[in-house]
């Protein structure tokens, strides 16, 4: 089996590793680096968005990127959002708005939301829905996620509607 050497910058830290040529970025994050926040929800079909990470500023399904294609890329995952004990505003807003139930889709949904807010600090509801359209949720639903993203965009809390 061919192995390749790659260096990826994960949450600000450059990491060099060898991996199999047929591994995806999701495989590398979960199996090689132990970052299990990004999930495999659909078996690598690009359907569910649970594996969403931000690659060079853009939301991508990490199951749809070969490891070699991420060589040299800047990757942000859910693990990189909190600052020590302090949650990222999006993480806090998801909790405050009750946008989490089983939690399986949450890391992906939050990374899609972060990619949106990084580009657009005051998105419309339509823009939020569009940004989340590739993230499937099977329990909480989307209303509370949309509310959470609005709260985070306002930089406020759930009570300050």
């Amino acid at each position: 089996m061919q192995t390749i050497s790659i260096t990826i910058i994960v949450n600000g830290k450059a990491i060099s590793l060898r991996c199999a040529a047929n591994q995806t970025l999701l495989d590398v994050l979960r199996d090689e680096l132990g970052l299990t926040g990004a999930k495999d929800g659909c078996g690598g079909e690009g359907e569910c968005g649970a594996c969403t990470v931000i690659m060079n500023g853009k939301a991508v399904n990490s199951c749809m990127v070969f490891a070699g294609q991420a060589d040299g890329a800047n990757i942000e995952t859910i693990e990189g959002l909190a600052r020590g004990e302090e949650l990222h505003p999006l993480q806090k807003a998801f909790i405050d708005a009750g946008a989490i139930q089983c939690g399986f889709c949450t890391p992906g949904a939050i990374m899609s939301a972060k990619a949106l807010l990084d580009q657009n600090t005051s998105p419309t509801e339509e823009e939020i829905k569009e940004a989340l359209s590739g993230n499937l949720c099977r329990c909480t639903g989307y209303k509370k996620m949309i509310e959470a993203i609005k709260i985070a965009a306002r930089g406020g809390s759930a009570n300050d509607r």
């Binding site: 690009g46 399904n61 990127v65 070969f66 294609q69 590739g134």
Partner: protein, 285 residues
Amino acid sequence: MIDELNYSLPSNLNDAYSQLQEIHRKPLAGATDIIPRLRRTKLPIDTLVDISRIREINFIREHETEIEIGALTTHSEITDSALLQSTAISLLEASASIGCQQTRNRGTLGGNIANASPAADTLPPLLTFDAVVHLGSLDGTREMPLSKFLLGPGKTGLAVGELIEFISFKKLNRYGLAYVKSGKRNGMSIAVASAAVAIALDDNGRIEDIRLALGSVASTALRCPRAEKILIGKPLTKTHFKKAGEIVYEDISPIDDVRASASYRRSVAAALVMQVLSIAEGRLN
């Protein structure tokens, strides 16, 4: 699990051509189509040649009378392009309708064309632009009309060792353009049927030129010459739009598949034709 395969990263376009000389070596761009296929079936591929970072074929260029779009331009880049917003709105609508943000951030125009899915969203608008596909290889470059390039589901005029470098089309300044698609839901859906149109009027407000193309109703995306012909010289009325829809209903031969039955597709296509004509009419200056 993806079967074992080799990965190589050419440093530039010529290097990519050198690496693609053998039939089991395939180009890899956005990977949004090849990865699911590799997981489902055993494909005759031993090496993926990663062209995704070759800057030489990632561009959107405006010339005096033509637009050129590099094969590695992503659907997000198309959707975000102010130039294409004003010159090729139907292509922008098609790219914006693909998958989700994550898929559009990786998937490329060249990939959408080369995969030649009958349901490929960008193909109907490109067919209404009379787009030309520019191919490159170690032997040089050649071009062919998109309509000749598309041969069947997954089949194109691309030879071993060749890549799509870019597509070009003449600016359609006087035309009203539109693309509509019917899928099971808005996000992530593959078209049950789709339609694109480019329409221009003469001084008397009659249709001088019309190009109508459909997706997901035949083995390739295709133009509808009989419907186009009946509309030439006609005013823009609901009656004529309906007639065009009826001709399309008669002419197409869609298939039954998991997404829709043939008879449903036929009805939807006829309705989409009327809808796309109305939208394009509203966009005529």
